[in-house]
Amino acid sequence: MAKNVKIKKSGQEEMVGFALIIIVVAVILLIFLGIWLREDKTDSVESYELNSFMQVLLEYTVDCLENYETDACVKCSKRYYSLKELIIACNEGEKCIEEVDTCDVLEPKLKSIIDSIWKVSENTPLKGYNLKIDTKEESILEIKKGNTTNNYKTSVQRLGRDNLQVEFNIYY
């Protein structure tokens, strides 16, 4: 009887040992999986190409003469707005020298540029795009085309004034 109890106890110890090994390995596995899954995946979504596009887009010269007054001239201008300056001027409610609202120039110009470079259709890999210009408080402009999908690339450019930022997403 005492012998039986001893054998049973030894068997139980082995089972506990085996269970412990399994638990330790499972914990190690879970830690590895956790680290692997927590790695920042934003890099693969942020695109170097899209960032380059946004950087050059914001410096594009727009057909809107900056409107300002000097001591020498009531209404004069020596330069055209860049797209970045036009966004800031639009946010501040300024007008071009031809008395055209800067926001009225901004939207069609942006749409025309994006449509000519990022062609959206059923037959192209690009399924849609979405461009948003906003401050922390309000949305200034949003241009959308096509469909949104889960496979997308994004670029966010901060204009360094009034918390203005331009976010451009392209969907594949």
Binding site: E14, F18, I21, I22, V25, L29, F32, W36, S44, Y48, E49, S52, F53, Q55, V56, L57, E59, Y60, T61, T70, D71, A72, C73, V74, C76, S77, K78, R79, Y80, S82, I113, S116, I117
Partner: protein, 191 residues
Amino acid sequence: MVKKGQLKIQQMTFMLIAVTLFFILVGLFLLSISFSGIKESATELCEENALLLASKIANSPEFSCGESFGTTKTNCIDADKVIALIENSDEYKNFWGVSNIEIRKIYPEFSTEVLCKRENYPNCNVMRIFPEEEIEGVYVSNYALLCRKEYFKGLVGGGCDSEEIETVEEIIYDECELAKIMINYEYGKEC
């Protein structure tokens, strides 16, 4: 007693085999997870390197705008510099270690391809550094800003309190358009 000892050894062996197999399976599982994205990452890295090459050339002193158009801009190419460079391109053969460099205006769009020369500049859309060789085979491209100095006739003077008469004068301004810089290189050199 001997039989019992043998049974114990057998148990131990099975146990060891089971544990070893378990560890091997776990190892294989982890390896397959970590290696699954390696090819994809390599391709991405290769593409990024290629884009960096295009940026590196666009930002080199022979092409870059510097501070000629206000503040320093990334990927900004001085079109006036490039047109001068095309005329002296023979001296720059093998300088960048690439087969050819092309800067193609993408906005405003042109209906046809017009190669830039001193005679038709700036009414052209393709600036090829070595015009005798076409861009073919392997190439990389990146977005760039193509800037030049332009002028328009504007009113100067005639302020409220001034007695100055308003006059029409040529005013120089910066014109920056959207372009793509394309670098043609030998296959296998960049990746």
